[in-house]
Amino acid sequence: MSKVEIAGPRESLLAALETIGRSGVLQIDASLKERAEEGAATGIRPLALDGKTLAERLFLEDLKIKVERLLELLPAVESRESYLSPARAINSVATLVRKHLESAEVQARRREALQAELAQLDRYLVFLSTVQSLAPRDAEEAGLEYIGVEVRDPAALEQLTRVAGRVLLGAEVRTARAADGSWFGLLTTEKDLAEKLKEGLRGNKIPEVRLPDYLAGLPLAGKLDAARARHDALAVELATLDREAKDLAIAWRGMYGNVLGWLRHRLALLRSSAAVYETDRCFVLFGWVPSASVEGLRRSLAERHGDAMVVEEQEILQQDLEDVPVALRNPAYFRPFELLVKMLPTPRYTSIDPTPFVGIFFPLFFGMILGDAGYGLLLLLAAAGLVVFVKSRRTLRQAGQILLVSSLYTIVFGALYGEFFGDIGLRLLGLEAPWFDRRTAILPMIYFALAVGGVHVLVGLTLGFASSLKGHRTREALARLFSMLAMLCLAGVLASYFAPVAELLRKPLLMALLVIAPVLLLTGGLLAPFELLRHVGNVVSYVRIMAVGLASVLLAYVANRLAGAAGSALVGVAVAVLLHAFNIVLGVFAPTIHALRLHYVEFFSKFIETGGRRYKPLEEAE
């Protein structure tokens, strides 16, 4: 990353920011000026925006709010791509958006009211169709009145009967259960006494179902018909509203999406001018550019603005190191693995980018754990599908690329372990394990996993040593170096118990450990032995590679055994497919989680210093 200072005529500021934004490489950092040495940048003051720029910013901010609100109100439908250049037609767009927003808001309010009334009508319809069967025949002709009540708790039915009987001896109570499970009651009483009964119900907190005014005075059957007619009319109106909103969205959504993109970009430029400084005649801005892109930025500014623009690279000071933004830049093969690194807080600029190491070790661990050629082939097909067909969703595509590499390793280890859908390869095709059979070779697999863990942890410690040297922290670097040597000696001593050749080395290694121990205490402090113990614990943690792998192979083995014991070929195949499918799903998740954990906890802790700032160039400023 390079620290740059860009200066040019004050009147060309917005045009220069436009060019810089298009190049998409500069992250403006006003704090660089604050950290600049006293007297190094005299006569420079924060830029005071002129009235015209301020007015433009306010106008565009207001317009952005309106466009966002309109896009929120319009239904999400496929619409035509817009080729309008918003910069040329921004005033017309502002007039148009006001009109469209007004109409969309009226529509939204009406839709809300209709939906609320329809929901209420649905409830009335349930009530009316339930109580229709309860109403006594000819009660209306006899001058009787109905009172409907809703009972939420069936236990309250008894209370309803009691209240009705106590308030009014003549009231008749009938109850029924609606189709949706709720209970309704219908009280029939003389018209003169109805009000007294209603008061009694209110006093006992039994809610009366109050029908809308337009249903008042109608007989019960008429009420149901009128409610149905109203429901249908409202549904038609709602459908019309939806159609109109959809038409509006099809016609204008594309254009407003385009306008919103332009507005965001333009406002990002205008906002970034708040981080710009000025002299009497010039603007000055400070920021960060990837070193490889400085020349390109200089060239594009010179092409558009001539010699008036100056781009100057400055020395990165010790006090700047904390704030240098971090951009992960890796070769194409490793780039998808940045996805796994970005899940953690950004490493500091002085730290080492772990992506290449994740790119090497993650698929290796994945393959070692899953290690089945049949599963690997299926995953390879799925990953190839993701890579080929998913173009628009970058994260999913990157995950597909990681899975593609991991599945290749799975096939390789599957071939070494002699596994093809468990032991199907052995039973049907006679494939023997050329290396070792994981189901029986428990101890060799543990040693293998420990050896891989030892290498991984040592690579981490080496990177930590390099990182400390890079940051000029000599004592820390020495502590890491001696930790590494102590780990190597420990590994050698342990190996001497298993390999007869190494037995001769045991004594020299123990002597070396005796020499290393005091140096480690001197450089790493009193906690150094605990730190060493943690490294040993980290290496033991790699046994999970063998343990999770063993669980996976045994599950595949059980799937085949169960399928064989099914008695019928069809049932056997179904059982095998089901269990293997389950094992494949587990086989994607478990190795991923465990391989990630081995990186995040065991490996990264050796050398990564988090707390870095992510590089966000001007184009991404919004």
Binding site: R544, Y600, V601
Partner: protein, 76 residues
């Protein structure tokens, strides 16, 4: 003689089962606590996904160590 040998095997199997079983229970208990707290944290801050995965995976070392001890008892 045979009976003594069988008792040795039974005790070894029991010790191995204890080493793995107790460490598995310990891991499960710790993970249930971390998982519940992690799910709550994730609901508010989805960007903590990786940190929660790490926190959730840390106690697994207990059961891995239990497994190593069990393997050493039975095979070592």
């Amino acid at each position: 003689m045979d009976a003594v040998l069988n008792w040795d095997k039974v005790l070894m199997a029991f010790a191995a089962a204890l080493a793995l079983g107790v460490s598995a229970l310990a891991t499960a208990w710790v993970q249930s606590r971390i998982g519940a707290a992690g799910a709550g944290a994730l609901a508010e801050k989805p960007e903590l996904t990786a940190t929660i995965i790490i926190l959730l995976a840390i106690p697994e070392t207990i059961v891995i160590l239990g497994f190593v001890i069990a393997a050493m008892i039975l095979l070592g």
